[in-house]
């Protein structure tokens, strides 16, 4: 390795609160070589983001401070710099992009002007030159019509384009090091692949060194040269990507690798015999539990006094049958209509056209009766575990409320049933007394699942219920679902944009695109031999944990 461009030595950061000091970063040392991509891996709360913000003295609170250590770059210690000097380093030498471009871009400023701002301030260009350069930069990061898009506002772009804008804003200051803080976590797999490819390209073209913060080992395997694994404020393992992925030393790294929901390799596929798969499909009763027939859901777009009424079809003619006891995964990019379909399935949103039938009762023909039946026999688990639980109620109260309304359990037996439910989702019954804020994301999601189980449902619809969780927690929740489906008589509809998780959990998969089902079939079959180009592109875009299995998706397919 050549002489490091950036070198962190023994960096410790503490937070001071009422009770005293708590160490957030504990003697962290790292090196970043010129032109390298360093993957910083670890769970939320492990200190990855804090480490990167500490490098440029951007600590999130006055209570947090650096107690020891040095950050060497260009022959000086960045931590010793004064306010004015570190300001010149920020952006110009170390740039940053963030997980959520929607909240990090200024919503009331034109995208182009946000790029111009950096060019004018750091590179001292005049207005006209800066504008020209900004348009060139926008072209470099993949805007198709930069001259026109210059004047657009962030909300007019998709998530992927916003992240490109964010990258252009960071590049406007011409940094040597780019810190990318979970840049693709909020994006679809196909868009993630595009953004990662863009970052690699920029590294080649501009000689950029990148620190890539992520919790996804697949992303690291595909892009990085070196990996540093963080846990509880410490770097527990650091080294070459291939070494660490092939021979992890630390217990935690091993756990991370084993919980990665990678697609099985080709050899593994041979083990899964098609005949066995077919035999496993439940013979089931003749009548499906849920029957969806030519379902349309449209939203009005503009409704001005004289404006033409136009509408947007979120779901455009979907037919689907779900048999009792089945586990069905619905996958697709954001905007493909999978969540809308799930909500319509439970009668949560009005149907524009077509039929939804639950256990023989049609939502269109006997709306009230069917809804009553659904509410007693079906339940939903939501994406955001915190916001879907009432913050003012304890977990026990939330569960008891469901039990009381359902009336299936005698009032006196409710506390006992709450205990049972919590045990069922592997939470300690003591948690009944806690409020959502006192729980971690994974624990909250378990509580959300317990709430769904409180209905004693035949059908559970889980809408992106692991998307917001760390990988190791994801793996635990998926295992929980697997156990519940196996031991209870449950039908599960599992919606996810993460194909690997669906592959692990579901028997059947439905691929959606632009409100339509493009492909459906047994999981093993669809993932091994996708019929549709779109499905193939989705599968190819999953970053595999094996660095030799490249992100192959041809760009043309993704653009469609």
């Amino acid at each position: 390795m050549s002489a490091p461009l950036l070198s962190v030595r023994d960096l410790s950061v503490v937070v001071r609160n009422g009770e005293g000091e708590q160490t957030l970063l504990d003697r962290v040392s790292l090196d970043l070589a010129p032109g390298d991509i360093l993957g910083l891996v670890g769970e939320s709360g492990s200190g990855k983001s804090l480490l990167c913000r500490s490098l440029v003295q951007l600590l999130p609170s006055r209570a947090i401070s650096v107690t020891r250590g040095e950050v060497w770059m260009g022959g000086r210690d960045l931590l010793a710099l004064g306010d004015a000097q570190i300001q010149a380093v920020r952006g110009a030498e170390i740039g940053m992009i963030f997980q959520n471009p929607s909240s990090h871009l200024d919503p009331v400023m034109r995208v182009g002007d946000q790029i111009v701002e950096g060019l004018r301030f750091h590179r001292k260009l005049n207005r006209a030159a800066a504008q020209e350069e900004a348009i060139a930069l926008m072209g470099q990061v993949g805007f198709t019509d930069p001259a026109r898009q210059f004047a657009a506002y962030p909300h007019e772009f998709s998530g992927g384009m916003r992240q490109r804008a964010m990258i252009a804003v960071a590049l406007s200051c011409d940094p040597k090091v780019l810190i990318a803080d979970e840049p693709t976590t909020a994006l679809d797999v196909t868009i993630q692949a595009q953004i990662l490819r863009l970052l690699m390209e920029l590294r080649e073209r501009r000689g950029l060194s990148i620190i890539l913060i992520t919790h996804d080992l697949g992303v690291v395997a595909q892009t990085c040269d070196r990996i540093a694994v963080m846990r509880q404020g410490r770097v527990v393992e650091v080294g070459d990507k291939r070494d660490i992925l092939a021979r992890p030393q630390h217990r935690y790294t091993k756990a991370l690798i084993s919980s990665h929901p990678s697609m099985p390799t080709d050899e593994a596929n041979d083990v899964v015999d098609d005949k066995v798969d077919a035999a496993r499909l439940p013979a089931g009763p003749a009548r499906p539990l849920v029957e969806i027939d030519d379902l349309h859901i449209r939203y009005p777009l503009s409704g001005g006094v004289f404006g033409r009424r136009r509408s947007f079809s979120a779901v455009a003619g979907v037919s689907l049958q779900i048999r009792a006891g089945e586990t069905v995964g619905i996958v697709g990019e954001s905007g493909s209509g999978k969540s809308t379909l799930a909500r319509a399935m439970l009668g949560l949103i009005p149907i524009s056209d077509g039929h939804v039938t639950f256990d023989g009762a049609s939502l269109r023909l006997q709306r009230e009766a069917t809804l009553t039946k659904m509410r007693q026999q079906a339940a939903m688990v939501f994406q955001d575990p915190f916001n879907s639980l009432n913050p003012r109620l304890t977990i026990g109260q939330t569960l008891a409320e469901v039990l009381r309304v359902q009336g299936k359990v005698a009032p006196a037996a409710i506390p006992k049933r709450v205990d049972e439910l919590l045990r069922l989702v592997e939470l300690d019954p003591d948690y009944a007394g806690r409020r959502p804020r006192q729980l971690s994301g994974g624990q909250c999601q378990r509580a959300g699942i317990a709430r769904a189980l409180a209905v004693d449902p035949r059908l559970i619809v889980a809408d992106e219920c692991v998307a917001a969780l760390d990988v190791t927690i994801q793996a635990q929740i998926v295992a929980l679902f697997q156990r519940l489906v196996r031991t209870m008589d449950l039908t599960l509809v599992f919606i996810a944009h993460d194909l690997a998780i669906v592959r692990n959990l579901c028997e059947r998969v439905v691929v959606m695109h632009h409100g339509r089902i493009v492909e459906e079939g047994p999981c093993a079959e669809v993932f091994e031999r996708p019929r549709e180009a779109y499905t193939a592109a989705l599968i190819a875009a999953i970053p595999d944990i094996d660095p030799d299995r490249r992100l192959l998706a041809p760009p043309g397919l993704l653009a469609s």
Partner: protein
């Protein structure tokens, strides 16, 4: 500019609003007990004289016919004859609208000039003593009733230190502004506190936002971060607050105009109510209502202008 197309469409909605306002004020004014003819002619008027006056002003017609006359006159740009002043109400209002309009404009500008810098100062020093001082001072602005504040300012800045005139309205522009200074300041001192609190709260939020983190991360100095990113984002919620307060002000200038003897619409309204001058009360109420609608319309335009995400 598709986003601004509501500017053309919205005025169409004003028609039913104005129509409704006219109907309501017409009925309400006539529900006030008392007879304008009797008030005009005094206690010793003969029944014949009263009947004459009633016939002259159409007060003896059935209510619905009176309302139709009122609408017909409105269509011709007249609001009927004032019983007391004996001129058309619209012309009468024309002579009184300027001081009220000028007072409201000066008050609003002054409160913005007070609120924005102080909110910025407080937000940027959140939790420090200057922030506490500004917030403490602002509770006084909210706490003191404007009539008392007006009297105190008059005592201090017109009587003890005669910098501004005590009361009345001037002839030349400079003279007018001098007469408006104290009443505007009185209103601005209470209005600015409301603005200040809402602005400061928004600024504190935006100072902690991801947008500012990102701006700082690319090396922008605090001044750019604040004036270019925090301020424009913080304005939006205060615009509607300001509009609601101006709407309230339009009806609330009565007290201030009385204290400072400004010959504005508030004064006109008070006198008209006492003399049961139906046509004037009706006319002033309609002008107030239309002004409120107009202010909210302007606020909508301003909101769309500062926040590109808003669509109306």
């Amino acid at each position: 500019m598709h986003r601004y197309s509501f500017i053309l469409m919205r005025p169409l909605q004003f028609v039913p609003v104005v129509f409704g306002v006219s109907l309501i004020t017409f009925i309400l004014v006539r529900m006030i007990p008392g007879d304008p003819a009797r008030v005009l002619l005094g206690a010793r008027a003969t029944p014949t004289a009263i009947a004459n006056i009633r016939a002259q002003f159409g007060l003896d017609e059935p209510l619905w016919l009176q309302y139709l006359y009122f609408l017909r006159n409105l269509a011709n740009g007249e609001m009927g004859m004032s019983i007391v002043y004996r001129i058309d109400v619209l012309r009468l209002i024309g002579t009184r609208i300027e001081p009220t309009f000028a007072l409201i404009l000066c008050s609003v500008l002054l409160s913005i000039l007070i609120a924005v810098p102080l909110a910025a100062l407080a937000a940027r020093n959140q939790g420090r003593s200057i922030d506490h001082a500004i917030r403490f001072a602002s509770t006084f602005g909210i706490g003191f009733p404007p009539f008392w504040l007006g009297l105190m300012l008059m005592m201090l800045l017109a009587v003890k230190y005669p910098i501004f005139p005590v009361s009345g309205y001037g002839e030349t522009l400079g003279d007018k502004l001098a007469h408006l200074a104290l009443p505007s300041l009185t209103i601005a001192l209470s209005l600015s506190t409301v603005l200040l609190r809402s602005l400061r709260a928004a600024m504190v939020d935006w100072l902690k936002s991801d947008v500012t983190t990102a701006a700082r991360a690319r090396g922008m100095p605090e001044s750019i971060v604040f004036w270019r990113h925090v301020l424009p984002n913080s304005i939006a919620p205060s615009i509607n607050l300001l509009a609601v307060n101006i709407g309230w002000l339009i009806g609330g200038t009565v007290v201030i105009e009385s204290i400072f003897a400004l010959p504005g619409m508030g004064q006109l309204l008070v006198r008209a109510i006492f003399s049961r001058d139906y046509m004037v009360v009706q006319g002033v109420a309609m002008v107030f209502a239309c002004a409120t609608v107009l202010v909210n319309f302007l606020a909508d335009i301003a909101t769309v202008a500062v926040d590109p995400r808003v669509k109306l």
